[in-house]
């Protein structure tokens, strides 16, 4: 008999509660904690710690994990259970940290998730972790999804939760479950219950039509937010993911920064001022938009308070200062400037004081984006006629290149600061850009599936 423990928590339209006696109290600890322990006490790690994953190292051996189809009492629930399992498996595979054990090897057939699995049956097929789950309906038609994460080697439950929501929310439930699995096994928060806003590109290169598009991080639930009449660029999420700020051209008019409400579809001009406004981004508290304002041949960085509409000028140079990005604590701003001759990354305080250059490598640097963890700034680098994506510490040390090629541009961080998305273009007049992701380790490079060309991705915070 399993008992239900823990509180009922609301997030979004999905309610969740913990399930299972082992939830949150398993013998397994996140690896970083385990390392600290081992170093401090010089004790051998317990055997159970084998299944922890260190995502700070590149090129890890993926963890073998078994995820039999979530069970359901009738054909409809069983089919939905299979769909949910597929989404979870896809997430786990794309993370690069997990290898799914072939279902044809399974010995035990899971038909009751409340019964402890026969761990020996899973050990013998080399599964180190096991995910089981069940789909059912409540009397009011709401969907109930439960899952358990098992440590096969230790023979213990590591996590268990149940979610109640409307049936059309099933994909989100699968992403939330993946986040729970990822968090329990890596000690880092997940990034699967997230969305991507980006620019969809169709038509020939000299007559490209660009539309604002939004999709789940796995490419599902794609919607187009603009119809392609106006040229739109560089969308960025608000901290609540409810709004997007981006740049849009009217016909023959100077482009300007706009706010777009994703739920209502309403569009609002941010700053009606002479000169184009571009390269917008929200402040971490969502109260301000930081952007460039062009004046003649120069561009400088300004903020606008969205409540008072007061603007503040932060840079004042006869140069191109653009691509501003706040640190997650809101105290500093990274931006690019060619004030020294070539494009380089600078950091300043949020009030514009103490502007200092941090990039000194060969070539030019642009599009700095501060990690949600605060520890790194991602950038686009141009060197030797090629375009690279890399990271650097805010003090200018520790530059590291994650990927390079003919054209890579515009990195955006997953909310846990472990994965970056960017766009990659090819040297082909009939070609176009596509979205790619790469781990902070430089491994696990993957193309994101989109129906047409795609650029300017921005990753949302965790939705829940």
């Amino acid at each position: 008999m399993m008992r239900i423990a823990g509180c009922m928590c609301e997030f979004g339209t999905i309610s969740r509660r913990r399930a299972g006696s082992g939830a949150g109290t398993g013998v397994l600890r996140p690896l970083l904690a385990a390392l600290v322990l081992a170093a401090a006490l010089v004790l051998p790690r317990p055997a159970a710690a084998l299944i922890e994953i260190d995502i700070t190292q590149g090129n890890i051996q993926p963890l073998p994990i078994a995820a039999p189809q979530f069970i359901g009492a009738n054909a409809e629930d069983a089919a939905l259970g299979a769909d949910i399992t597929n989404v979870i498996q896809g997430n786990l595979i794309r993370s690069g940290l997990f290898a799914m054990v072939d279902p044809r090897a399974f010995i035990e057939k899971i038909d009751n998730i409340d019964r402890t699995p026969r761990f020996g049956d899973w050990r013998i097929i080399n599964a180190q972790a096991l995910v089981t789950g069940q789909v059912s309906r409540q009397g009011n038609g709401r969907l109930k999804v439960e899952f358990r994460l098992w440590d096969v080697l230790a023979g213990q439950q590591m996590a268990g939760q149940q979610f109640v929501t409307t049936p059309d929310n099933w994909r989100r439930v699968a992403h939330v479950i993946t986040d729970a699995i990822y968090q329990r096994l890596t000690g880092e928060s997940g990034y699967f219950d997230t969305r991507i806003v980006y620019i969809d590109e169709t038509g020939p290169k000299d007559q490209r039509i660009k539309r604002l598009a939004i999709m789940d991080q796995d490419g599902a639930n794609r919607r187009y937010l603009t119809n392609g009449t106006d040229l739109v660029l560089t969308p960025r999420f608000s901290p609540t993911s409810q709004e997007v700020t981006y740049m849009s051209y009217g016909s023959g008019e100077e482009p300007r920064v706009y706010l777009f409400n994703i739920e209502t579809g309403q569009r609002e001009l941010v700053w009606d001022h002479q000169g184009m406004t571009f390269s917008p981004r929200f402040s971490p508290d969502g109260q301000k938009i930081i952007m460039s304002l062009q004046s003649g041949g120069n561009s400088n960085i300004y903020t606008m308070d969205l409540r008072s509409r007061a603007t503040t000028r932060l840079t004042n140079t006869a140069a191109i200062d653009t691509a501003p990005s706040y640190s997650p604590d809101g105290r500093q701003i990274a931006f690019e400037s060619d004030r020294g001759g070539s494009q380089q990354i600078y950091v300043m305080n949020a009030d514009g004081s103490d502007q200092k250059r941090i990039s000194f490598g060969e070539g030019s640097y642009s599009t700095p984006v501060w990690s949600p963890r605060g520890d790194l700034i991602a950038f686009t680098k141009r060197a030797g006629g090629r375009f690279l994506i890399g990271v650097i510490r805010p003090d200018g040390s520790g530059e590291r290149i994650l990927t390079e090629g003919y054209h890579n541009e515009g990195p955006t961080w997953a909310p846990n600061g472990r994965v970056l998305m960017f766009f990659r273009d090819v040297r082909d007049s009939n070609g176009g850009p596509k979205l790619w992701s790469v781990d902070l380790t430089g491994y696990n490079e993957r193309q994101i599936d989109t129906p047409s060309f795609a650029s300017d991705p921005a990753w949302s915070p965790l939705i829940n």
């Binding site: 000299d206 740049m247 571009f278 003649g296 041949g297 561009s299 653009t322 691509a323 054209h407 273009d425």
Partner: protein, 163 residues
């Protein structure tokens, strides 16, 4: 030979557009599409063909080259003669830069041209600038010969047609 094909296509498009503009501007002209028909003085086509509507820049630069100055001097003479046109300078960059910077670079190029025209006596009130960054390449290919055609500022005239 895709590159050359594309350029040819672009050129033929430009010629066709110029011809259509001429057709619209002076519908009483006899057979304006006839090969070798001279541009009507004061028409958009006349400006494009006889003054030259665009100047080119070197990589990452907004400085005017000697050829660019030559073109702009012809533009100044023409724009002074046909002073009823409103003028929009469109600045562009090639694809070998990042998006935000290229938008700013296009603005810097357009501003350089605007300032030159104003310095030569064109009324600033007639002039507007607009940057497209790398969003509107005119030449589509994947080598430097194309990129150089895209690093440009185009003087677009509008308002009244030929008198």
């Amino acid at each position: 030979m895709r590159k050359i094909g594309n350029i040819r296509r672009a050129v033929s498009h430009a010629v066709m557009i110029a011809a259509l503009v001429a057709l619209a501007a002076c519908s009483n002209t006899k057979n304006p599409l006839e090969s070798g028909a001279p541009a009507v003085p004061g028409s958009t086509q006349d400006f494009v063909v006889n003054a030259g509507d665009r100047v080119f820049f070197t990589t990452d630069s907004a400085e005017l080259t000697p050829q660019a100055r030559e073109t702009l001097e012809k533009q100044v003479l023409w724009l002074k003669k046909y002073a009823h046109y409103a003028i929009r300078i469109e600045g562009h960059a090639d694809e070998r830069g990042t998006r935000e910077y290229n938008i700013a670079l296009g603005a810097r190029r357009a501003t350089t041209v605007r300032n030159y025209l104003v310095g030569q006596g064109i009324d600033a009130g007639r002039l507007k600038t607009l940057s497209y960054g790398k969003e509107r390449p005119v030449a589509v290919c994947d080598d430097i010969s194309c990129w150089s055609q895209n690093r440009r500022a185009v003087t677009v005239i509008s308002g009244q047609g030929a008198s």
